[in-house]
Point group: C2
Chain length 138, copies 2
């Protein structure tokens, strides 16, 4: 087993019925400078409730927990059970204050630790011939 890398929360998802926000921890607020010039961000968060040896050993799943979908490797899915419990979501920002980013939506739970935010830069050349399996559109 290789030596692990350590990651720390830089914020947390705050969800109410009305709004979804990322609350940035005080130590990291300076890292938001200029983010308001972008419309979209990648939010990387941690499936903290799945951080168990068993969930980390999950290598194949039926996508969306639907047994009619073919057994699929977790790297070919967005499964929340996977070797490293990383989640990725592309979000639209609705507003940003000194420590809070309001976003349109995210499939994270209230309290999920956020581990990185990256600006979204569209590809210079639009992606061509994008292919996905049939179960995606079911």
């Amino acid at each position: 087993m290789n030596t692990p890398f350590e990651i720390y929360p830089i914020g947390f998802i705050r969800k109410t019925k009305r709004r979804t926000e990322i609350e940035i921890e005080g130590d990291f607020i300076d890292a938001l400078l200029g983010l308001d010039s972008f419309s979209h961000i990648y939010v990387l968060y941690w499936f903290h409730q799945n951080d168990t040896p068993d969930k980390r050993k999950t290598l194949r799943v039926h996508p969306r927990k639907n047994t009619q979908n073919p057994l699929t490797g977790v790297f070919a899915t967005r499964s929340p059970a996977r070797p490293n419990l990383l989640a990725l979501h592309l979000c639209r920002m609705l507003s940003i204050t000194s420590s809070r980013i309001r976003i349109d939506d995210i499939d994270a739970r209230d309290g999920s630790p956020v581990i990185d935010i990256k600006c979204y830069i569209p590809p210079k050349i639009p992606l061509e011939n994008v292919q996905v399996p049939d179960w995606i559109s079911r």
Copy 2:
């Protein structure tokens, strides 16, 4: 300081002049099943050469190391110095064998640890009104 989460390499970037590949570690090969039905993947890797306390404390940079670009928070950049040294790249797969994924290109170094792979699913509704700051197109 919160307790860190631990992440482990699931593979490594292998770069030669002719080809760029992700070599998946043996324990994780089963997680590739079905990935060949996709054309594109998100590759998450680790800026392992930057994993120092100083680089992790970097909160603002001049993007692309160009001092003519405005001082910008690292969350509004793809800076390889940031609190958690996560890198994200959307890649086209050229071929896939049992343990190797050949990709078109990635701005990682030979030997960079790969920590997750996720299938790329295009948004159901294309992104609208995408905005980026001026320095992106310089």
